[in-house]
Amino acid sequence: MKSLKAQEVPLADTGFQLNVLNSTFSEQKQFPKFRDKLAAHNLYPLKPTGIQIFQVNLGKMCNQVCRHCHVDAGPDRKEIMTRETMLECLEALAQTDIPVVDITGGAPEMNPDFRWFVEEVSRLGRKVMVRCNLTIILANPKYHDLPVFFKLHQVQVVSSLPYFSATRTNAQRGEGVFEKSVKALQMLNAVGYGKEGSELILDLVFNPSGAFLPGGQAGLEKEFKRRLKLGFDIDFNNLFVITNLPISRFLDYLIESRNYETYMDKLVTAFNPAAAENVMCRNTISVGWDGFLYDCDFNQMLELKVNSQAGNHIRDFDLTSLNNREVVLNQHCYGCTAGAGSSCGGETVA
């Protein structure tokens, strides 16, 4: 399977995606504007609460081509962050006391400067999270020691596993992904990740493999723990439940399967003001592979740059200006405010 960009389809264009989301095509059903929903609950304009998470996307290159991927990542994507941009990230971080650096991709480990960057962030005394797709650990012998490298730097590993069985996982992430993910999780467990009493944290991310919203995080976590232990002797710490946002490849799937309007209806109907208050863009800044700044990874993939007076590139990083910005919103934001809410750390409503 190729990325949307490699297929040169209209949806590869972010402007086209935004047109779909804003129902600009005549035959489309109209949905209430997200900003109006927020305004009705005195949340517009949406303002940051202070940056706690510095999320860095090291690039769109990935060994997998998942059907729901909001990054449109894959082996055919060559956009990756240079060491120069990483240095600018480190300079920006050093001016602040932002405690958490969340590294994502694509498969961030495929960036040749990945390990160097993790080491440098650790040297700044910040907690490092890596969003590891698991199969990368087995993709090439040069990645087999990643669990040991993660352990050395006390990296919190956050890994996608849409299901505890092969059928559903492979349908979303590709043939053989479940089996490799299980093996990788066992390798992480073997060095102490996710084990009781260990400080090495291994969290899993669940996102629905289809046009439906996720159920409650607590119930799903219990079931994932039971099934993964029973079937594969796998331990992990927390399950983060994430709603699929209607952008990029998931939007493509929704349109192709004729589920787009029903899915948007579900998101809009499930709008929860309590979830809206705790959306991740209020405490996160997201850096793209080319150094541009965004309110979140989803805005990054829609090329909706941050609205900061000091500028929108990492070399313009100004914490005060960023903390005073207005978050850039669009219709995809309904994905983060449905039901119990959704963020890179799972539900946003306790």
């Binding site: 299901y163 505890f164 069985s165 059928t167 559903r168 629905p208 289809g210 439906f212 919203l213 996720p214 159920g215 409650g216 119930g219 799903l220 219990k222 079931e223 994932f224 109907t269």
Partner: protein, 111 residues
């Protein structure tokens, strides 16, 4: 009236039944919500039971709702199909067990 008895869009209007009898309707929905909360059974188990019953009573709205709900609660395809087989077994069994009545009557009226 619609041209068909069942319209998928009507599922979302289920709550409207309270319009003509608010007191009973509200009591029903309050009870309904309470039933599906996690208790001695998990929400996932309750959803699978609902899915099985939906097939037994052959309610298209319920099949629509509880297929999605079972997925949301973390049930997999095997569990969902097994739940339907449980419903089928009970319905089939209920038919067949009456065969004993037939056999009783048969014995009564034949030489």
């Amino acid at each position: 009236m619609e041209n068909t008895y069942y319209n998928p869009a009507d599922l979302a209007k289920f709550g409207n039944i309270s319009e003509l009898q608010p007191e009973m309707g509200n009591k029903f929905f309050s009870y309904y919500a309470e039933v599906f909360k996690e208790g001695a059974l998990t929400e996932r188990e309750k959803s699978l039971i609902a899915l099985a019953v939906a097939h037994a009573v052959q309610c298209p709205y319920c099949i629509d709702a509880y297929t999605t709900d079972s997925l949301q609660k973390g049930a997999d395809e095997n569990q969902m199909m097994e739940a339907i087989h449980v419903a089928a077994a009970i319905k089939g069994g209920a038919t067949l067990v009456h065969g004993v009545q037939m056999m009783n009557k048969l014995k009564e009226v034949t030489m």
